[in-house]
Symmetry: C2
Subunit: 195 residues, 2 copies
């Protein structure tokens, strides 16, 4: 996808935050993935969900389908992911996701992604090369300050400058943007009994 | 439970909002019930869940267990329910719930509870008398104005005056308090695929 031009970033911009729920690592089965539609950093407008395979290869496709079939799709201007790995090492190809939903995608983590560790872990899984290629395609890892705390971004279809603006706008309660903070609370709160 | 004295209602009062997810009426099985911890009408602090039987008799007990086992329990000052029936006609005994969790309980609906219709519907279910007794024990139905819209309250362990204050404080986005508005969005957003 070509880089989206945000001429103006409105305070009420609709952002989808996505995170996964709890699951038992290295088992077969699915983990729930929750998407939360936020209006700026202020209020929740909707919730959606899908399931992805633990250590599977379907995270990109499942998230694209969840977004494209949502009644909120047309209001959305950006997708934020809690990192690029879901349900273990089910890697999201953020360029491919961005193209599939025709929206910019931003993956944010509190810890710096350790590509060496990811590469080692992937070696134990089927399709290691394909996963590693997706992890590399997420491109440059940007370190930025958000409310005085370092966070790390990987971007598709959005400039670093605009990504930083949207992160600041939506981080109204902590150093994590509200769409991601709340997606985490919901996904973990509704999946805890499965452990 | 004796009526709780709120000497001061703090703007950051922790309120739990509870609503049920979607389910297929008059089938066997469970519906998900979601609880959302809100700080005043402002921000989400946690999410919890349980399951209750469709048209069953376990809503009071399951909600009490969900609340009492939650790490958020000690911060909570009030429980808000979206009406007194969950998953069809699984009636919550709000006096019993209030006693079990040692918190005031407030059930709010946009439509005036139609006791005649509830009584008729209950006749088709097992334990009709027990359910009807619980519905009656919810006590007086109070009609109040909230942001210019009529809503209906049933109360346990809280005065109407304090209930109105907390409803106004937490209704920051609509005529429905945020804990209930968001519990509804989450519960329906994560249960839609089951239909």
């Amino acid at each position: 996808m070509s880089r989206q031009n945000f001429r103006v970033i409105k305070p009420e911009i609709r952002v989808l935050g996505i995170d996964d729920g709890k699951f038992i690592p290295r088992t077969r089965g699915n983990a729930i993935v929750v998407g939360v539609v936020f209006r700026g950093g202020i209020s929740i407008e909707g919730v959606m969900h899908t399931h992805v395979a633990i250590d599977g290869l379907d995270a990109t496709e499942k998230q694209a389908a969840m977004i494209n079939t949502s009644p909120h799709r047309r209001q959305l201007r950006l997708v934020m992911l809690n990192g690029i790995t879901f349900a273990g090492f089910n890697v999201v190809d953020i360029e491919k996701l961005s193209a599939a939903v025709e929206l910019p995608v931003l993956a944010l983590t509190r810890d710096k992604p350790d590509l060496g560790r990811i590469h080692e872990a992937l070696k134990n899984l089927p399709n290691a090369e394909e996963r590693w290629k997706m992890a590399l395609e997420a491109g440059e890892i940007h370190e930025v300050q958000n409310n005085g705390v370092k966070v790390y971004l990987e971007l598709a279809g959005i400039s670093l400058c605009n990504a930083e603006k949207i992160i600041k706008l939506t981080s109204t309660r902590s150093c994590v943007p509200e769409p991601l903070r709340v997606a985490h609370l919901i996904a973990s709160g509704i999946s805890s009994e499965h452990l």
